[in-house]
Every structure is written in C-alpha cells, then in structure tokens.
C-alpha cells in the first residue's frame, strides 16, 4: 500500500507547474488523456512483468521517466531565482544531478512496485495551455489514490511537467525545499547535497 502511495508520488511527482515555465501553445485535453493512458499502461505492463530482474526493471522505468518528463524544465523551475544567478558550470552540475536525483529516486521506488490499476478520472485545462489529467489508482485495501499529471504538448511530443497528489504540487514542494537548502548552504551546498543523495550505495550482492 505504501508502495502504491510512492507510485502515485513518483509517477506524479511533478505536476502543478507554474506559470513561469509556460510557453505559448495549447495542449488538447483529449491528446493529453491519451498520452497519460498510454504511458500508464506501458508503465504498469512493465512493473507487473514477472521474471525481469529488478535492475532491468529499474533501468526501463528510468528510460520511461526520462523520455516522458521534461526534467530540464522542471529542474530549472525548481531551482527558483537562483537559476538566473548561477554560473554555467553550476547550472550544468545542478541539472545533471537533479535529473539523476529524480530518475534514481523514482526508478527505485517504482521498480519494486508490482502493480494495481490506473483509471483516468478526468482532465482539466490549466494556465499556460497545459492540461491536468487526473488518474485514480485503485488498490486492494484503502481508498484509491488520486493523482494529477500536468501535461504539455510540444514538437517533441507530450511531456509531464508536474505531479499533483492531494492538491499538492510536487514541483512546488521541491522548490521550497531547495530554497531552504540554498538559503542555508548556498547553491554549491545544494549541489553537494544533491550529489550526496544520488551517490548512496544500494544493496550489494556480496
């Protein structure tokens, strides 16, 4: 059940994305729904597949996340005003660590998930022409989890920009956490702390 909650979080980690990220263009709600349905279908097939070693599952989840979330845009937004004052080197380091942080965290959380069902609950227009697709994940015990995905269409296909769980935008939450770290330790401190988070060893075979 807890894992399910993580699934919600994870698949959804990024939805309530803010105006500053917006560009021109309008995303069709129908297309956005199709995109989320297809993606969640693929994700569940993968997560439920038996006999695939964990490492391989995690690798595939990772590719799926990398392909369908606009991590560069999310990363820039999450850094807040510090993005503008950061040097090229800092931006480079931060972005690659942030992406690694997201991919690692969620591919691990999702890789071990064995799957319930997704159901599309609805879609609504957001500011900046984005669409929030709401999904419901049912589980054997406890009420279903609702999660919203902020989707934006573009030349490179649809991308997820945020995940909203119980009305809380994961991107906004992350942004305020990072702001607190930057205030305390500076941007270089945030970069090293991110490095700390992505460099932990996982379980070992021997």
């Amino acid at each position: 059940m807890r894992r399910l909650a993580w699934l919600a979080l994870a698949l959804f980690v990024f939805a309530g994305t803010p105006p500053a990220m917006a560009e021109e263009g309008r995303t069709s709600p129908d297309e956005a729904v199709k995109f989320v349905a297809k993606l969640s279908g693929e994700a569940l097939d993968l997560l439920r597949s038996k006999g695939l070693p964990l490492a391989e599952k995690e690798k595939r989840v990772r590719t799926m996340l990398a392909d369908n979330f606009d991590l560069a845009l999310i990363g820039r937004y999450v850094l807040g005003p510090s993005w503008r004052t950061a040097s090229d080197e800092q931006r480079d380091q931060y972005l690659s660590l942030f992406q690694e942080f997201v991919l690692r965290t969620y591919s691990r959380r999702l890789g071990g998930y064995t799957g319930q069902t997704f159901e599309i609950a609805g879609a609504s227009a957001l500011s900046e022409g984005d669409v929030l697709v709401t999904t419901r994940i049912s589980r054997p015990s406890g009420p279903p989890i609702e999660a919203g995905w902020r989707v934006r269409g573009g030349p490179g296909g649809h991308k997820i920009l945020d995940v909203v769980v119980s009305g809380v935008s994961m991107v906004v939450t992350q942004r305020s956490e990072f702001r607190a770290v930057i205030r305390r330790e500076g941007l270089d401190g945030l970069i090293e702390i991110l490095r700390a988070q992505v460099s932990k060893f996982s379980a070992k075979a021997t």
Binding site: K57, R109, G112, I193, K200, S202, A203
Partner: protein
C-alpha cells in the same frame, strides 16, 4: 565441590575438550555456511522485487553482525522496500555496518548526515564518515570530499587536498572526477598546470561516455592542445556528444564537418558507430 582429578580424569577431560572443540567447529561451520547461503537467497529475493523476503532473510544475519546484511537492511529502510521507509532505522543499520568497517555503509552514513535525512544535518560526522570511507578507497566518498575541499564546504577550503582526493576518485574511475581533474590540471588548481595531463583525464571521462568531456576533448583534438591533433577523432567525439544531447556539440560538429572531406567525415561516423563506452569499476 571438590574438583575430580587424577590421570584418568585428565584423559577424559582432554578428550572431552577435543570433542567440545570439534563440536564447536562443526557448529560454527554449520551455522556460517547456511548464513552464507541465506545471504545469497536474500539477494535473489531482492532482485525479484520480493523485498519482504529479503528483509526476513537478512534481518537475523544483520542481528548477528554481518556487515553486508547490515548495509542491505539499511538500504531497505532508506528506500522503503519491504518495510516502511524509515531513515532512522537506515542510520541505525548503517552505523553498525560502518563501525564494522563496511566502506559503502560509511559512505551512506556520511551522506545521511550531510543531507540531514533521519537526523539533523551534522557536517562534522558527515565528514568523519566520508573520510573513513575515502581512506578505504571508496571513490564516491573521495570525489565528494574533493569537491567539498575545493568549495570550502563544511571543511577547510584547500585546493591541494581537493586535488588529491579528486585524483584518487578519478583513478577509481569516477568519470565526473576525471573531468574535474582535467580542469584542475588545465587551470593549475591545487597542482601545476599540465596540458597533457588535462587532456588525458578529459579523454578518460569521454571514453566513459561523459558527453561534456567528449565535447571538450574534441576541441583539444582540433587544436592539438595537450593531445595529438586529430580531426577525425575530434569529429567522432562530437558525433557522440551530440547524440547524447549535449547542447554545444551539435553546433561544433557542424562547424568541424565543413572543414573536413566527405571521406574523413565517413571515417569519423564509422568510428562513432563502433564506439562503446568503457565501464569503470565502481
């Protein structure tokens, strides 16, 4: 009670001691062999995503002081696998493993104190455990310490120390450390400037598939800066970096291509097709 003695009893006592030792040995062997087998069974369960079973198998081993099981148990708690996510328990198990000398656990523990997960951030303890792990040759710890000394974050700012740690991490095959070491040799940070050494380490990172380093070494190959001039190799790296999505590489690739014959371009493309990243042991 008076102790029974006399030659015959000595023989009996000695014989029983031999037996006892034999029993003890048998006991130890019997119990350590299944422990070994159990550990792998736990790993197999883990790989199948059956974390609850992995936890059940590793728990008693960890209780008995098996540092590998302690490390893995900490991971299960830290990542919330097969158990509620619980940073405090992760710290507890990693502390035990770290005190048992497990380098990975020392690294993880240092990182918990640094990020303040499950504990308030404690930079002194973080540095202590990172240093312990780094001295044991854990490349990731060496790299973090190097960066921290370079920035003066939570430790004294000291370019020489930064260089020493980053060099060790680079030698361990951490590609970001290799790239950083390249920059230190280029800029003379913590070490005397050395263009050949700079090029060498940029190349090492490029060979591991680090797009930024691939783009960088390409520029050096065009100019013959610290490395023998070779436009075909340069184009190869730019093709690879551009394919990996590195922003400037595509632009550089187009400029360089215009200065090369079709045949040279084809050679570079062929090299890029055949290229495989080198895997570093980590």
């Amino acid at each position: 009670m008076r102790e029974i003695s006399g030659p015959i009893f000595d023989v009996i006592r000695r014989t029983s001691m031999v037996f006892a030792t034999g029993f003890l040995a048998a006991f130890v062997i019997l119990h350590s062999f299944p422990a070994f087998a159990d550990f792998s069974a736990g790993w197999r369960a883990y790989q199948q995503g059956d974390f609850a079973t992995a936890l059940k198998i590793w728990q008693p081993l960890a209780d008995k002081g098996d540092a590998r099981a302690q490390l893995n148990l900490g991971v299960l708690y830290d990542e919330g696998r097969g158990v509620a996510q619980d940073a405090n328990n992760a710290i507890k198990w990693w502390t035990l493993a770290a005190e048992n000398g497990n380098g990975e656990a020392q690294h993880n523990l240092g990182m918990m104190y640094l990020t303040g997960r499950g504990v308030p951030p404690d930079y002194k303890l973080a540095v202590k455990w990172l240093e312990r792990a780094a001295l044991q040759g854990i490349g990731r710890s060496q790299y973090s310490l190097g960066k921290m000394h370079g920035e003066g974050l939570w430790v004294k700012k000291d370019q020489r120390q930064a260089f020493e740690w980053i060099k060790k991490a680079a030698q361990k095959g951490i590609y970001q450390a290799q790239y950083n070491l390249g920059k230190m040799y280029r800029d003379g940070a913590g070490v005397e400037k050395n263009h050949e050494a700079a090029a060498y380490w940029f190349l090492m990172a490029a060979q591991q598939g680090y797009a930024k380093a691939q783009n960088h070494i390409a520029t050096r190959l065009v100019r013959g800066d610290g490395i023998k001039q070779d436009k075909i190799e340069a184009l190869k790296w730019l093709i690879l970096a551009s394919k990996a999505g590195y922003d400037n590489a595509e632009h550089n690739r187009q400029i360089l291509s215009r200065r090369m014959s079709v045949k040279e371009q084809e050679q570079a493309e062929d090299l890029a097709r055949k290229w495989k990243p080198q895997q570093a042991p980590q």
